[in-house]
């Protein structure tokens, strides 16, 4: 235990990849990367690489699954077979089913589903390369893809994990920190409203550490949110430049 705690921080107090305790990894986001999907996003977050496609709102088949008063959201979060250390079988595992459910529930919170009775909004996420924090990155990418598809939203869902390493709360765990550290705590929220849509943890935390982690996560999410806004605005700016027919209805 002692060995673990110290080995993940260097003598200068920095993390193994050179980051400060509260420093995010580099993040890039690109929307409209796919021609066939209604909306899409390619996001890199450290060594994570995530692609997300959105279809809809569209008619739901089979029809008996449809809701007469609103659209449903279907989410598939998958790990590519080669995205992890040991090759994963192509069949989804329990972890992928659980995260698909949690991502779906988070997205539910910002979608105007009642505007699309009997419809479905389908969100397909594939983690192409995994390096810790994939569910938060996936949610961040999914929001951009939903915006890219022109689906009206109350706000974006933005995620960022915090965790505990060498008895310290740190921001945005890498794969190694997640595996060898003392705990992982993914958080996702609508940053503008302060509504938290996802909160999990595993590991060992005191109540005070959880509170500190939550506060750190919210601050980091604020930073990620800025990038997210830029990525979506970039597309509109580009379109404006080309078509000259859109105003600034986007906040």
């Amino acid at each position: 235990m002692t060995k673990e705690k110290t080995s993940l921080l260097m003598d200068d107090g920095r993390r193994l990849d050179g980051r400060e305790l509260h420093e995010l990894r580099p993040i890039t986001m690109q929307s409209s990367v796919l021609d066939r999907a209604d909306g899409s996003c390619y996001l890199t977050w450290g060594n994570n690489k995530i692609i997300c496609a959105v279809y809809g709102p569209r008619e739901l088949h089979p029809k008996h699954l449809a809701k007469p008063d609103r659209a449903i959201v279907r989410v598939e979060y998958r790990l590519a077979t080669f995205s992890v250390n040991e090759r994963k079988s192509p069949a989804p595992r329990r972890r992928e089913y659980e995260l698909s459910k949690l991502i779906k529930e988070s997205l539910d919170a910002v979608l105007f589903l009642e505007k699309f009775p009997n419809g479905t909004i389908d969100v397909y996420i594939t983690v192409l390369d995994a390096d810790g924090g994939t569910r938060c990155a996936a949610l961040t990418a999914a929001s951009i893809a939903l915006a890219d598809a022109g689906i009206p939203m109350k706000g974006f869902i933005t995620g960022c994990a915090v965790g505990k390493v060498a008895d310290k709360m740190v921001v945005d765990l890498s794969d190694v920190e997640d595996k060898d550290g003392q705990g992982d705590m993914p958080v996702a929220m609508n940053f503008n409203t302060g509504e938290i849509t996802l909160l999990q943890c595993d590991g060992e935390f005191t109540i005070e550490e959880v509170k500190e982690g939550l506060s750190l996560a919210i601050r980091a999410i604020g930073d990620v949110y800025k990038l997210q806004r830029e990525a979506v605005l970039a597309k509109y700016t580009q379109i404006e430049g080309t078509t000259n027919d859109v105003g600034d209805e986007e906040e």
């Binding site: 529930e105 539910d108 705590m185 938290i196 909160l199 999990q200 959880v210």
Partner: protein
């Protein structure tokens, strides 16, 4: 006894109205749990077991152990795995078939609560019999028999209580250090401490502990966390499409120590009564 109905709009309005006045449909206070009974050691064929009656919810947890190979990346650790079945027995709306997302989430939340609490000393020679070759594989299976709300806390309590009365067969390691012989004699599963789960639900702006079935079906959001006897939070899980604020989470977490104490006490009682018990003989 009559057919179960899905909580409709009217029922949800009714619950919501009450909650706004600070009341719950079954008369409980917001931080009051339902009566909980554990009957340990009810399954003869299992290495450990417990039936839990948590309010109207009934679950049965059983532990089976078998010697097997460790995972390649943890060659010196025993293996634990939690599986859940929300049986069609438990409710007219629960269907049979392969586990759906709700069942998978239940199993994984219970699994993480136990695994991350570190109460199972996986490297103990009693669990890791021959490092790299033979370890105990501990299967915890939880069956939901009557779905009366708050399955997570009931399932987590049953799983923990079943572990508390689990006994493994003693083993003798053969000379070649490759194979083991199982003896008839048993000994308790090693265990360092205990853990229990606490679940809160939110309807409108009301947050309350231990939702019953109506509250469970009407809830907008759910928050569960597992706390050990050392006061450590080892697992959290926010669920459903509703949201919480940062303040709401911290307020909930501050209730943890008080609410978890009676549950942990019950678990310890279980480990003291290892003789075979009879289920379904109790009444509140």
């Amino acid at each position: 006894m009559r057919s179960e109905e899905i909580v409709g709009v009217l029922e949800k309005q009714y619950i919501t109205k009450l909650l706004e006045k600070g009341k719950r449909a079954d008369g409980r206070k917001f931080l009051e749990g339902r009566p909980v009974q554990i009957i340990p050691n009810v399954i003869k064929k299992a290495e450990g077991s417990a039936m839990v009656k948590w309010g109207e919810t009934v679950i049965l947890a059983g532990v089976k152990a078998q010697l097997g190979s460790p995972f390649p990346d943890t060659p010196n650790d025993g293996v634990i795995t939690v599986n859940a079945e929300i049986s069609p027995i438990s409710s007219p709306t629960n269907e049979s078939g392969p586990p759906g997302p709700r069942t998978v989430e239940l199993a994984r939340v219970v699994d993480r609560g136990i695994r991350e609490s570190k109460i199972m000393p996986m490297k103990d020679p009693k669990l890791c019999v021959i490092p790299g070759k033979k370890v105990w594989i501990i299967f915890i299976d939880v069956y939901i028999l009557d779905d009366g709300g708050n399955l997570i806390d009931a399932a987590a309590l049953g799983a923990m209580a079943a572990l508390a009365n689990t006994r493994l067969r003693k083993v003798v390691i053969n000379e070649d250090l490759e194979e083991v012989t199982l003896l008839e004699e048993t000994e308790p599963l090693p265990r360092n401490g205990s853990v229990a789960s606490l679940t809160f639900a939110k309807i409108n702006d009301s947050i309350f502990y231990d939702p019953n079935l109506l509250e469970d079906r009407g809830k907008e959001a759910r928050f569960s966390f597992a706390m050990t006897d050392k006061g450590i939070i080892c697992s959290m899980q926010k669920g459903e499409s509703g949201v919480f604020t940062e303040e709401e989470f911290t307020t909930i977490l501050d209730q943890g120590a008080t609410l978890v104490a009676p549950l942990l006490e019950k678990i310890e009682e279980c480990s003291q009564f290892p003789e075979m018990n009879e289920m379904y003989q109790f009444d509140f």
